[in-house]
Subunit: 185 residues, 2 copies
């Protein structure tokens, strides 16, 4: 896959792809393309000594990602005191080869690491939640029963800068070993 070996710089040492590094992309366009392809993320956050992985909706606005939940939720209480990881992944298909070792899958994924922050201003929080809803269903917010202030208070909205981001993308057919070609496929 040498034609795929696009040289690019990782934004930091900890986001530098080592395994199958010819699948790596670090450009903002690719990062945004993958983030915008699916609304579901998995957030890794250390809670009581366990790196819990929480599936959650997220949305992107410019160079930041956002996600929401309960203001009383355990993740939002500890989020700002540590670096976290948000992963977004798409499984595009199985890749069937002549040997089990060369089985693979086509996929697209982004890992973001960094420090998240909670939005405290209620007006900003409301605006972000509106963008979340309207991002999924255009103009939906305007149709709905207006939000109550207590609903905004009960909701936590976290945000993180898309600074330390890496992508991996695999497309195309299997890569069989040269000597496996005589083996029936």
């Amino acid at each position: 896959m040498s034609e795929d070996k696009i040289k690019q710089e990782a934004p930091s040492a900890r986001t530098h792809v080592k395994r199958y590094n010819w699948l790596a992309r670090y450009d903002r366009e690719t990062v945004e393309e993958i983030l915008d392809a699916v609304p579901l993320a998995h957030v890794g956050c250390m809670i009581n000594g366990v790196p819990f992985v929480t599936p959650t909706f997220f949305w992107r606005e410019g160079d930041r990602v956002y996600w929401h939940g309960s203001a009383a939720g355990r993740m939002f209480k500890v989020l700002e005191q540590q670096d976290i990881c948000m992963t977004v992944s798409l499984l595009d298909g199985l890749v069937i080869a002549r040997s089990a070792y060369n089985f693979n899958c086509n996929f697209r994924s982004v890992m973001l690491v960094g420090r998240a922050e909670l939005i405290t201003d209620e007006a900003v929080k409301t605006e972000k939640l509106k963008n979340f809803v309207n991002g999924l269903i255009p103009k939906e917010w305007e149709r709905l029963r207006p939000v109550h202030p207590k609903e905004i208070k009960a909701t936590a909205v976290a945000s993180m800068s898309i600074t330390e981001a890496s992508c991996k993308i695999r497309t195309g057919p299997p890569q069989d070993d040269e000597e496996d070609y005589e083996f029936p496929s």
Copy 2:
């Protein structure tokens, strides 16, 4: 959703569902049903101070889950020294309500926490990889070019007991607030 309030015991304090706890299930049948519905997991593991979330294939055999990767991969080096989290999630659909606050989604998810171990015996490792491949595509292993011992050496297979597991399942229509019913839907 009071009809859904099935009382069940969580297997441990840290797997006890608190938020929307009427969606919780802890029985083995439900855990296995969700795990068997999709081959993709997200594994949370603390690496250099970051709770990295790695998308990875996994498979279940009886009361254990398994996943594989590079024997030189960073996750497999630190896996046995910490408790980790494996999350499997399915997004079944958006739930549109009369108020933004009552938006939701239908979903199924499992969180597993515990201590994983690496399989060191090469014969067992080979057997497990065979089960992985044949689990995705029945009888596929027998069709393939036989594995080389060096391929098995290069491969790490991790396994974890399904002991501390919790599920959340949401199905059905939105739950509007009583006073929102006069609002057009």
